[in-house]
Symmetry: C2
Subunit: 381 residues, 2 copies
């Protein structure tokens, strides 16, 4: 077990109707004006917008709005938000949506307090000194962004999907009302399940020093996600399954599974980000393609842990059978498991690998993940 610092200051308000608390939570910090970020206008018809803005009004909190944030959130939209936040002198950012809205909000929170081009923070040209406080009301359980200091944004000009990490961008308060995720369609529920599993297992397989306790936590998350996904695909109304799924998503990337491990990167995420950047496919769909391919490529580098995974999750003795079982499960829930399924041809592989190899340099993983290695992985897909 390696030395670590664990500090996760985000307050989670979990449960039914908790979105009504947001005004009171923001008012505790004497904030009187926020930038309200969201994606589609659906929140205006399903009642959520009304609930949230009523909660703000009740505490005398004014707001300006940035809407139309899409998945694989775009730098141009973030820059629009930064300009608006500066012009309107907001004191906090409030996100309503999934990981893309929240990641945009976090990036705006950073950009609003710095003079730099915000992309500088993504490419390592500047470091984050501060940020406006961020509040979140989640309508999707997947990315874990609600309880961590990460944000991922796509630069559509340079075709780069990169991330920032800072203690300053942990949300102050995140509202997780599992009922708000009910409108997520089955394909996106499946992609979310894949994303949560990915967050859990990337460190599990790659950390050279992986304590048993952390492995057990990961296995608990994976089992819970598989179990609850199957329930929810059949019965979206099952509140308990939805709540367990939601909380597992948060636990998968709030630092608790990786504390004490010498995590050596998120290779499947790294490669997937290039798929998303170049072909704009859903992150979880891309992961379902990359993960089994990466597992095949990586399995002999940590054979004992792959054996453990096969045994614990699927009750199987063989590593190859375990990898196949996970791939089959991804397919069963409706996620694509090959490049062919998303109409990406073999001729595209070198371009994806070239893009990912650049990310590998930024993420400090280029020793192992050369363009050639990434091509080998993608050929498995």
């Amino acid at each position: 077990m390696v030395d670590f610092t664990y500090h996760n200051p985000t307050k989670i308000e979990f449960g039914k109707e908790k979105e009504n608390l947001i005004g009171a939570e923001i008012a505790k910090e004497n904030i009187t004006k926020v930038l309200l970020c969201y994606g589609s206008e659906r929140i205006k018809t399903d009642g959520l917008y009304e609930k949230v803005t009523s909660s703000l009004k009740a505490k005398g909190i004014a707001w300006v709005e940035l809407s139309g944030i899409v998945s694989n959130p775009k730098l141009a939209k973030v820059n629009e938000g930064i300009a608006l936040a500066k012009k309107e002198k907001v004191q906090a950012i409030l996100a309503i949506g999934g990981g893309s809205v929240l990641d945009s909000a976090k990036t705006i929170a950073v950009g609003a307090l710095h003079g730099n081009d915000v992309w500088d923070f993504f490419i390592g040209k500047a470091s984050i000194e501060k940020a406006l406080p961020v509040y979140a009301i989640m309508t999707l359980a997947a990315t874990g962004s609600e309880m961590n200091g990460f944000a991922v944004v796509s630069n559509e000009e340079t075709k780069q999907k990169y991330s920032i990490q800072s203690a300053h961008i942990y949300p102050k308060v995140s509202v997780l009302n599992p009922e708000l995720t009910k409108s997520v369609p089955n394909d996106y529920l499946a992609y979310s399940a894949v994303d949560i599993i990915a967050h859990s297992i990337e460190g599990y397989f790659t950390a050279p020093d992986q304590p048993h306790f952390q492995s057990r936590m990961v296995e608990g998350i994976v089992k819970t996600v598989m179990e609850t996904t199957e329930i929810l695909l059949k019965n979206p109304e099952d509140y308990n399954a939805r709540a367990e799924f939601t909380w597992a998503a948060t636990q998968a990337l709030n630092g608790s599974t990786t504390a004490g491990t010498n995590l050596s990167g998120f290779p499947s995420h790294m490669i997937e980000h290039s798929l998303s950047a170049l072909f704009n496919i859903a992150h979880g769909a891309g992961l379902a393609i990359v993960i089994p391919a990466w597992m095949q490529w990586y399995k002999n580098k940590n054979h004992a842990q792959f054996e453990r995974f096969s045994k614990e999750i699927f009750g199987l003795d063989s590593v190859d059978e375990g990898i196949l079982a996970l791939k089959n499960w991804f397919a069963k829930i409706g996620a694509p498991v090959s490049l062919e399924k998303v109409s990406i041809g073999k001729n595209e592989i070198s371009a994806i690998a070239e893009n990912a190899a650049h990310t590998a340099v930024v993420w400090g993983m280029s020793d192992t993940y050369t363009q050639r290695a990434i091509e080998d992985i993608l050929h498995n897909a």
Copy 2:
């Protein structure tokens, strides 16, 4: 899964030599004078006192000292600390030791900022509005006090061992250097193991609504503690086992295993506190006696979960065999598993039960835990 608020603001500095950071951490808050609390003078011969005070000096932080805090910490000593903290106008409390020192420090932190008799907070006569910041350097892994808002203190006059709970007494920073726990003798290591297991399973068995994910976390903690205790009893130098044991102790009572459960109390702790209050036996030793007795008494109230426990932890199909296996494991590691083992006779049972029945009223558990019910449990021991 029930609604919950999760907010754990404690920063953990985990690993070798991390105690050297304490001065810098305290200085971040512009604190210039602390009350340094500890137990025995051993820290002055083993080098820890020197390291910590050097770290304080390096940042220009002055200190006054309160030493001689014992296990099952005493109200009189806490009141001495409160008077000292007020007189010396310290701005924070720094604890070096195990749960007893830290719990005393937390209580002093409360008392220093209130005019009330501090016992009022334990018996529900006053509520905690604020507290001085608390810092901790742990030399024992057991109580979980390093990452929660609880403190337990014994009133030696009234023979009551009661607790407080407040968001204000989460430690600001806790240093967990597993190497500092190496001097703990084997019997106290065993008691610590029992305490950690108790923290995990009290909610696991008693919450009417226990999510699978939380059950899996608890099982992961219990397995980890059992595995690492056995390693450490044979080889106290095994750093990895010590580190996993230490982190499992923290996880067992930092709120993560009980978030989303409708935890209905800590009955074994409640009864054990009376054993400690009346006979001053080690908390973990008392728990080893109470837990199997309580399990026998309670098993049919949540039979499915007891079946799950037997299966998951011991691979056994029978509930009775599972309870016996846990009791045997407690005995194997050197913890007492009957009242007889600690020379408490049957004639004492009604006095213990009477004391515990008073705690049951304070803890809101008196509907189930009448004096008669507690006597029945203790007769199993």
